[in-house]
Symmetry: D2
């Protein structure tokens, strides 16, 4: 298990290095384990939509990064097939978001993950789920 | 109908003006009609993920903007409840994407929209659907 | 809380009485609380599909019943808007399934629920989520 | 193409023969082509839920059958991974439903299908989408 977690960290370190959009989002890694990730980011003004609240694409993008970091970290390159997100509470500028990705199913060819996003008041603002396809290529 | 389409254009003009994240994405409006929108954007380098292709959040964000422009444009403020996206083909830097939002159902309290994203070779790269809740507040 | 749970039980008792399809499925109520339900059923031969395993509609139908029993039980008539289900493991004839519905969000106008279905070996066979719209009509 | 359509019909004939739940539903095949299916059924009293309208599981089950008939009919055994359904209008006893499954994407390892269900007044009552995984086993 420790070895698996070490591998998971190395894979995500490599992914994060090349992930320019996650850099733009300001994503920071909090914890990586096999099939698991926890990340944070702070919402900035350029992330709002035309209604004055944070664009739904920001919460989705954060969850999608957490999903990618969780589902790829056994060093088995995996691509998102079908994802969905429920928007539960509005997100505002300066909110500090945490996304936690948990593995629901680790299949040979596909996987299922659930990601919750909470704000600084520990309210769940969005719930994401994602199904990925495993290519059996490596990342490292 | 013409009057409705005029209103639709005005609502989206106002939304777009304040939508800083759609600006960052480089979204341009191609066509607005009642319950309908068509937009385009060009993919830039800072939009890639850790696997060298475009981050799933970019396609989602573009579709979510098209969704918002379609579902709000009767001047009835509507918020996204539940959305999903299927990723069909990878998106690359310099791709020119078009998102078209069509209304499947215009209910009194909720609405259902489908958004397809195609690239410059007219391949569908992603399919999005979104359910919104109508607040009965106005935008203009 | 006890009063709420008493009301929840009465609402579901009434719903179950009239729910002819849940009768056909063989659904039995295990536990009802405010915003929560737990039910069971045993899979029969007439529930299989053309591939010899249980039809996906059976797992969905069971989850949808659990969803209805959870989201309606504050005596606020609620209708399903958008639901999804992930199929994790095949279900077989004679399997004994338990579906547990938990409330993720209880909004004024909408709600979000998650339902997991497990078999007699305590394996999760399917994961369902549902968004409902609250009509503010009563059931009792 | 004609040959492919002939194969498609044979595969679905075999599937339908063994599909006891589709029999219970009263499903009849209207048209089968490669990657496509169209089926019909009439709603019976034992299909209602506790609110007096037709149980959501019935529309889902019908769509799921149409999905299976479309995604398996190249004789490549395919299993549902992730499906969702939006409920647009209530369905009533004696309604005559038609479900039409169209292929959005036919990938090597996965596929994406969309199924619309209409009633006898040609109103869309539900919209389903499904992602399947292709096992590369045969059905015939």
């Amino acid at each position: 298990m420790d070895e698996q977690n070490e591998l998971a960290k190395k894979v995500v370190e490599k992914m994060m290095q090349d992930d320019l959009f996650s850099h733009w989002l300001g994503i920071q890694i909090l914890e990586i384990k096999e099939g698991y990730s926890k990340i944070k980011m702070k919402v900035r003004k350029e992330m709002i939509n035309g209604l004055g609240i944070v664009h739904g694409g920001i919460a989705f993008s954060m969850a999608d990064s957490a999903f990618a970091f969780a589902c790829n970290n056994r060093n088995n390159l995996s691509v998102a097939l079908d994802t969905s997100i429920n928007f539960i509470k509005p997100v505002h500028v300066d909110d500090e978001l945490v996304a936690e990705a948990k593995e629901i199913h680790n299949g040979k060819s596909t996987g299922l993950y659930q990601i919750s996003i909470t704000n600084q008041r520990n309210h769940t603002v969005a719930l994401f789920k994602g199904t990925c396809f495993r290519t059996n290529k490596t990342l490292l």
